[in-house]
């Protein structure tokens, strides 16, 4: 039996197709999110790669910021519950999840069954999110996937103290013009992201294992900065961008089986 989880975020679209509740048949990501062609493209890609049709899906659950606009879905579940479900499936020892996506930063505390005990999210401000890193990468003329490497060469991380993305951008520009090395600025940017996420994690209560997911988890520089700030190891979920879609697919499976109360 196949089930599908669709996670439409603010800056990327993800689909997971699951066989019998445990075998990941497809896990696709397109780096554009709600309101774009991303949702349709990622769906087509997942179906094409798995050689399956939409009709083969026993149940489809949508999650993420754009969850209400997915016509194919039978139901919507919040990304908080889906992240918890997906991460706990991959890392059953997880106690705290740090999820950094396009516009949200979340810290989610799990109980020993993987249920959400508490969660905290960023409020009005998008500093410390994936979009913040996008902006910095553009200003620094360094690709997002190269930022971790730059960070690893930093000798003295610069301070990026502004809480606002726009002001932080000016701060970075002025550091660049003062000749501060990009490596050090990038390490400072990563620390800034880490401090926002860790603030939320501290409110949850930090307890191992700590698992990171969301697109930003692919940036090892951020993972290192978070681990340093929390003084604890941080596990990156396998394929961290698809964990919420995976959770949605598991929920879909449990609903078909009648095991999800």
């Amino acid at each position: 039996m196949f089930t599908m989880g669709i996670d439409i975020g603010s800056s990327s679209s993800k689909v997971v197709i699951l066989e019998d509740g445990f075998n990941i048949i497809a896990g696709e990501v397109i780096q554009i999110g709600t309101g774009s062609t991303g949702p349709k493209r990622v769906l087509d890609e997942a179906l094409s790669k798995s050689s399956l049709k939409l009709q083969d899906m026993a149940r489809i659950i949508a999650t993420g910021y754009g969850r209400s606009s997915v016509d194919e879905a039978h139901k919507q579940i919040s990304e908080i519950s889906c992240q918890a479900k997906g991460v706990f499936f991959l890392v059953p020892s997880a106690k705290v999840i740090i999820d950094i996506g396009g516009q949200d930063v979340k810290a989610i505390k799990l109980d020993s069954k993987g249920c959400v005990k508490q969660f905290f999210m960023n409020d009005k401000c998008a500093a410390g999110t994936g979009r913040f890193l996008d902006v910095m990468s553009r200003v620094l003329e360094v690709n997002l996937n190269e930022m971790a490497e730059y960070d690893s060469r930093a000798t003295e991380p610069a301070t990026v103290s502004s809480t606002c993305t726009v002001f932080a951008e000016s701060e970075v520009i002025s550091q660049l013009s003062n000749g501060v090395a990009k490596e050090n600025i990038i390490a400072g940017v990563h620390q800034s992201v880490a401090s926002k996420a860790c603030g939320l994690a501290y409110r949850c209560g930090v307890e191992e294992d700590i698992v990171m997911c969301g697109g930003v988890a692919k940036d090892e520089g951020v993972v290192r900065a978070i681990s340093k700030e929390l003084k604890k190891p941080v596990i990156v979920a396998p394929n961290p961008q698809i964990t919420a879609a995976l959770g949605a697919a598991i929920f879909a499976f449990e609903e078909v089986m009648g095991t999800n109360k």
């Binding site: 910021y65 908080i80 020993s112 069954k113 249920c115 508490q118 969660f119």
Partner: protein, 422 residues
Amino acid sequence: MTDTTNMSAKELLGFYQEELYEEARRAKKEGKLVCWSASVAPSEFCVAMDIAMIYPETHAAGIGARKGALDVLEVADEKGYNVDTCSYARVNMGYMELLKQEALTGKTPEKLEKSPAARIPLPDLVITCNNICNTLLKWYENLAVELNIPLIIIDVPFNHTMPIPQYSKDYIAEQFKNAISQLEEICGRKFDYDKFLKVQEQTQRSVAQWNRIASLSSHKPSPLNGFDLFNYMALIVCARSRDYAEITFKKFADELEENLKNGIFAFKGNEQKRVTWEGIAVWPHLGHTFKGLKNLGNIMTGSAYPGLWNLSYTPGDMSSMAEAYTRIYINTCLDNKVKVLSDIISGGKCDGVIYHQNRSCKLMSFLNVETADILQKQNHLPYVSFDGDQTDPRNFAPAQFDTRIQALDEMMKQNKEGVSNE
């Protein structure tokens, strides 16, 4: 005179709200005094002196709910009021500015012309009380200075410890006396103590009916949705010292009790989860917040906000009246705030709590993080907080709200169904 005998509570609510504004406009035309008042400032003194009353906070909420806040907020912005200032204050200062321009030029500014809110007359005096916040002091001082009119301040100390000490009640009672002598001077006649006693008695009858409505949310399923209290609140603010409030609330309580008897509940269908809403309503997005909860099968059965007007006291006893006006939970220490909210949550038999992080209302919001933390340790109920504002529509993001309440709903569901093990 309109016959109100056969009106429903909802009709009475609309009728008396309009009637109050009409009375104020008429008073102004006839050269009688009009007073603008803070929402939990004692209304008894002015009503005893036959002064027509307008409540800017309720008026601002109405402007917000009718999607007219942005226009007047922009006027306040232009006058230099910082966006960190309470949005009720900014809406009112903006509205006052438009009324003032009209009075000075004889021309109605376009923004005033197209404002969806009820037209209100400019005040001849203002009365404020800092029992719900200190912004009200500067807000009303500004009104008084801008319009060159008298200001009555009833200073109520914050209760850092409970119970309320006698010296505090004595001090507030002295403030009342001072307000009375100011009013005698403004009105040019002696204070009518006989009428004052009658007004106090009327206020108590209104409050008793208000509390009667609020208590109905303890039934499960509930005949009352807490959002109804947000709507009916207009009269406990604006007419508690008149029989308008008593008549309307009695009718509403009777209707709800009848519904309860007949098995008619507020949630059409099956109420699945019950939540407490801590904080002021998001007036510009009231429909969105209400429907968001409703679509998930949730009903709001707890809110401490309407309880601000649980102003029970003994008529004729100034010390007792002083206590009623100072014990408002946001004028008390964290321990007491937590206790009040805890009683609201258990009284409403709630499964979770929603905290409105509303930077307009500093006293209600800024202790939320600590309050939520303490309460959760006590009751183990899930909670979420969201960013919003009582009247500035720019400070609320519907999608952010939706994600939080959906997650809360899922947490409440897992708790109720025993999936979670803690």
